[in-house]
């Protein structure tokens, strides 16, 4: 039956095509679950080629909020997590999903808002600024995505004695997205928001926004790196993952972090203790 044969041949071909393009030999590689701030600020694009050239290990970065990144580690979907939310990291350690945390670098959060600053928050005190924002019900964009930045924002409301649940209204926009979308939203609404300095510096669609509060030591934003515990997930590539961590905290890795600049400004400050 000619038609039958031709039909079968066609399907066979299609299958072969599908199989051929799906299979590919891969060099050694690890999956790093990290935060949108490190990806969207361009830091990884700067660091990874340096590490890959030295070690021959390909690093695949999945950029998520800190909370999601840690969850990916908990499920065993990542070999290494690089995040910035100290309490959440401590919990991850306590649960046994990692056995050690290393300091890598820090940057800081900045309070961004319209140049005209209608709520009058400009200055060096972030807690006072948040107090004024709530009092003025000034438009504010929240990440709302369990990210490190979101945690820092919630901590600051708490320190300012603002009970979000009771004052939340139209002015408080909880968008549930990454740093970039939050900045885009704030830019469109001319709203205030808390951002990490790295993403802000590399962000291009600023509109009328500017930095209003910076330099408060409560805005300190440390990043930690952890190897997912191979005892919990045997599939974790412990040797390669540890090699990446060792490089990050080595002299070379730390120098590479310090050398990443946008418009002449350093975005992340290495602080590994070694």
């Amino acid at each position: 039956m000619d038609i039958l044969r031709r039909g079968l041949l066609t399907f066979g071909l299609l299958f072969a095509l599908g199989a051929a393009s799906g299979v590919r030999a891969e060099p050694a590689s690890i999956v790093v679950a990290s935060t949108t701030s490190t990806e969207q600020s361009g830091l990884f694009k700067h660091l990874l080629p340096l590490f890959e050239a030295k070690s021959g290990i390909a690093v695949k970065v999945v950029a998520l909020g800190t909370g999601q990144a840690l969850d990916a580690g908990r499920r065993g979907d990542a070999d290494v997590v690089l995040v910035h939310d100290r309490p959440a990291e401590e919990k991850f350690l306590a649960e046994g999903f990692a056995t050690k945390r290393w300091d890598v670098m820090y940057n800081d959060f900045v309070l961004i808002g319209p140049k005209s600053d209608p709520a009058g928050v400009r200055g060096g005190d972030v807690v006072a600024a948040f107090d004024k924002l709530a009092a003025a019900k000034a438009p504010f964009v929240s990440r709302g995505d369990r990210s490190g930045t979101h945690s820092a924002e919630l901590r600051t409301w708490k320190e300012a004695g603002v009970d979000l649940a009771s004052v939340k209204g139209d002015w408080y926009r909880d968008i549930g997205q990454g740093m970039g979308p939050a900045l885009n939203t704030a830019s469109a609404l001319n709203a205030y928001l808390l951002a990490d300095r790295g993403t802000w510096l590399s962000f291009k669609n600023r509109g009328d926004l500017t930095i209003l509060v910076e330099g408060d030591k409560r805005l300190f934003n440390p990043y930690g790196v952890m190897l997912v515990n191979p005892a919990k997930h045997p599939t974790v590539k412990a040797k390669e993952g540890q090699a990446f961590i060792d490089w990050l905290i080595s002299h070379d890795g730390q120098a590479a972090i310090a050398s990443y600049k946008i418009e002449g400004k350093e975005l992340f400050f290495p602080n590994a203790s070694r």
Binding site: F11, F15, R75, L183, H233
Partner: protein, 231 residues
């Protein structure tokens, strides 16, 4: 807006090898997914068109509804299946192009099957009597009708390709948008939008649309050529 457009056009000229690699990955993943969709969907659609069995209309209704399967749900379910802690975790497919192929194939297959069923059912209404009088069994009738409607099925394939290459919800979740590995056109556009680089995002969007037009043009040319040769 005008300024963004101007920037977009100048960015188009400077698009580099990275963009080509991303476009190539998108094309490869979507074509593979559509191939799987056709291989499964066409026989399934033909079967539903010619076979008569209880519950067929429910199955057809369900299949038609699945044309509207939300990509992000497909992504989520596949994520849970492919996660290292999930039932298929040992395959190690999560965050690989293979996972994205699986996700897009899951979206393409019901679309192909539903459209094929309709095309073949219509052809059967015309030719079924004739084929039956030749003494052909149901499977043979199905194959004969697939052959007869092959040019209409090209449009089905193109619809499936359009659904696959333009979706982002599923590939973002199961692929992870990893630079140089699972970054597709749609996830790259989303990332550049998030970074506030709207002109680059728009330039990438134009490349994606160009790609879709190109694939459609190739299909149309092949079909015209084949129709002349075998029509």
């Amino acid at each position: 807006m005008l300024q963004t457009l101007e920037e977009t056009i100048s960015r188009l000229a400077t698009l580099d090898r990275d963009v080509l690699a991303i476009a190539w990955l998108s094309l490869r993943v979507s074509l593979t997914a559509v191939s799987i969709g056709l291989a499964v969907g066409i026989p399934l659609g033909a079967f539903l068109a010619v076979a008569i069995f209880p519950g067929r209309s429910i199955l057809v209704g369900l299949l038609n509804a699945f044309m509207g399967l939300p990509p992000v749900i497909v992504g989520l379910v596949l994520y849970l299946l492919l996660s290292r802690s999930g039932p298929l975790g040992s395959l190690g497919l999560l965050f690989t192009p293979g996972a994205m192929v699986a996700a897009q194939a899951a979206l393409a297959t019901p679309l192909v099957a539903a459209l094929t069923r309709q095309v073949i059912a219509d052809a059967e209404a015309h030719l079924g009597e004739q084929l039956r009088s030749l003494g052909l069994s149901a499977p043979h009738r199905g194959i004969a009708l697939i052959y007869d409607t092959r040019f209409s099925l090209v449009t089905t394939a193109l619809a499936a390709f359009g659904r696959a290459i333009s979706e982002i919800g599923a590939v973002l979740v199961v692929g992870g948008n990893i630079d140089g590995h699972t970054r597709t056109m749609t996830t790259a556009i989303s990332l550049e939008t998030q970074k506030g680089d709207l002109s680059l995002a728009l330039a990438l969007g134009l490349v994606l649309i160009g790609l879709v037009i190109l694939v459609n043009a190739v299909a149309a040319t092949l079909r015209a050529h084949a129709a002349r040769a075998y029509g």
